[in-house]
């Protein structure tokens, strides 16, 4: 797992054996780039790379690629999230080349939430490829230097290829086989769904370790701090594929309203500290939804600061 | 008991209201009936288990259609009673008659007469 395949800083950090830290920024619902650069500025010294979501929850936003370019121009390391919901294989390959032309070196391959969740529920979806096939596509373009159609690519993309994994979705029995399948498709790093049920995550990780999967890829454990007990309940009851144990909801509701943000941060830091010790966890993906300003604090309190310098 | 009920009602006997078809209901109105009501056994007491429940759904659909085509959905109704409830039978007959009198004659009947004239 030591041989670098791309100029990605995230890849370098992971291959050097450091615990990586990534975070994410959602682009604005308008064309004001300042929203995204401001968020990125808050976290630039505390994370190794920043994911830019791709029309998350199917709500139309400024495009992921353009936002990645803004970050790149600021000297940050973007992770281009790409969903297969909105693009066919022509658009996908074209956008990958576009990103590569700006030396965007990381991509996260996703299928994307169904459009019925977003602001255009009456729209078509594409799903020409699924997330596994998107992984295969990027690897094919990078490693073979070819388009899916077989023609050669001049200056192929050099992208470190990631995907998501949700250890908490059903059915649990295929969650590890599914990871194996993504690895077979060519994925190199994984960012997981937000982890609240730590025991279940550890079980998933143990099963992955037993199959030797954690030796083949870098798993970044996903965490999201609760801002309030309301958010904890929302995540528990409303977000598909999210597993929030009752104890955490109880813990959040056990403190006064003004102290709840601090309690949420504390839970997040405790989760990171516990998972740092787990073999197979190679970093953290901190998704502080509309709370990016707290990312530096989480990173520092979790003992993940300063970030390594690999260049 | 020899109870009296309004004379404008024509009774059509069926073995079970489950036999009532949507088409029967519509054809009544097409032929000029001012109102139609289906009287089934009490819910839960159908000899064929669900005949009266099916009838209720068909009446509901007939109401919807009559409403949409401008005849008024209230012209068709579903009632339930048991065979021993003669006073209730009379009460329903009077209630339905009052309702139809209020709604006025079936506009189809009038339109047909007008066209014939």
């Amino acid at each position: 797992m030591n041989e670098e395949k791309t100029p990605s800083k995230l890849e370098k950090i992971l291959r050097a054996g450091h615990l990586a830290v990534t975070s994410e920024c959602g682009p604005p619902r308008g064309s004001e780039a300042g929203h995204i650069t401001k968020k990125a500025e808050m976290i630039r010294n505390h994370v190794d790379a920043v994911n830019i979501t791709d029309n998350q929850t199917s709500v139309t936003r400024l495009c992921s690629l353009a936002a990645c370019i803004h970050l790149k121009m600021m000297g940050l390391e973007p992770v281009l999230q790409m969903v297969t919901r909105d693009r066919n294989r022509i658009a996908i390959q074209s956008d990958i080349l576009g990103a590569a032309s700006f030396d965007i070196f990381n991509i996260l391959c996703l299928s994307g939430d169904h459009q019925s969740f977003g602001d255009n529920p009456k729209g078509q979806n594409v799903f020409d490829l699924d997330s596994m096939q998107l992984i295969q596509t990027v690897r094919h373009m990078r490693d073979e230097g070819k388009f899916l159609g077989g023609d050669s690519i001049e200056r192929p993309p050099r992208m470190f290829v990631g995907a998501a994994a949700n250890p908490f979705a059903d059915p649990f029995e295929i969650r590890v086989p599914r990871l194996a399948k993504k690895i077979a498709a060519g994925v190199e790093f994984i960012q997981t769904q937000c982890i609240y049920n730590v025991e279940k995550f550890e079980l998933w990780l143990k099963l992955a370790r037993e199959r030797g999967l954690t030796e083949k890829i870098f798993i970044l454990a996903g965490v999201t701090p609760f801002k309030s007990v309301g958010m904890a309940k929302y995540m528990k009851n409303r977000v598909p594929g999210m597993d929030v144990p009752d104890e955490l909801v109880k813990r959040m509701s056990g403190v006064a309203k003004e102290k709840q943000p601090e309690e949420g941060l504390q839970i997040c830091v405790e989760t990171i500290q516990r998972l740092k010790e787990q073999k197979g966890v190679r970093g953290f993906h901190i998704m502080a939804i509309e709370w990016e300003e707290k990312v530096p604090e989480i990173v520092e309190r979790s003992g993940l600061y300063p970030r390594p310098n690999v260049n | 008991m020899r109870l009296q009920y309004p004379s404008g009602i024509r009774i059509i006997c069926l073995p079970c209201t489950g036999k009532v078809d949507l088409l029967h209901l519509l054809h009544c109105f097409e032929k000029g009936a001012d109102g139609v009501y289906v009287v089934g056994c009490l819910e839960g007491a159908c000899q064929f288990n669900t005949g009266n429940l099916r009838a209720r759904k068909r009446v509901a659909l007939a109401q919807e259609i009559l409403e949409k085509i401008g005849l008024g959905g209230d012209r068709v109704q579903m009632y339930n009673l048991s065979s021993s409830e003669a006073p209730r039978f009379v009460q329903i007959a009077e209630e339905m008659t009052q309702k139809i009198l209020k709604l006025g004659p079936n506009p189809i009947k009038l339109a047909r007469r007008k066209m014939a004239a």
Binding site: D113, D128, T137, A169, D170, P171 | L71
Partner: protein, 222 residues
Amino acid sequence: MIVAKQKPIEEIIETLKGYNKILILGCNECVTVCEAGGKKEVAVLASALRMYFMNQGQEVKIEEATLERQCDHEYLEEIRKTVDQYDAVLSLACGVGVQFLAEKYMHTPILPGVDTCFMGVTEERGVWSERCQGCGQCILAWTAGICPVSRCAKRLLNGPCGGSSKGKCEINKEVPCAWQIIIDRLNELGRMEDYERLIPIKDWSTERAGGPRKVVREDVRS
């Protein structure tokens, strides 16, 4: 079968405006089974429309007929001699029948009386659900006989996605997750190892993407 549902009567009335002699034409096949466009539905609609127009003071003649099928020449020919009597034909067949009629009878307006929905099954009387989207290249051999193209909201060939929860799809708790059914079947069949087989990128050119499709069998062709 092809599953269709009746159009709202007000929508049908709107499309029939201006026609004075209308034939409502049912179909004895799929739409009879799914109770959208068979003889019975023709009779109900005809009765309702007759009453509507009469109530409007319009003399509109509505007649009824139901053909064995509307997707074969021989049955559609049955109305050749009479079709010219009508200002319009309202077909209660699926979109296939409506179009075949329209292609055959150039001078008669042909209108649809149902919304054609999908290819599916009768789960129980009054409940129909989708099973096939006619992608032109069946993959059921690899997915335990359950189709992710028609039954997964994201058509994932390598599912399930992270939104599968307690056997249901993220889009609606009433919708079963196709991949949960596939996995349950693989378990029953003792073939869970098949799950890890990556289904390759699909050739969608045999689906809608490739334009209107055609099947030609030279050996049976006349």
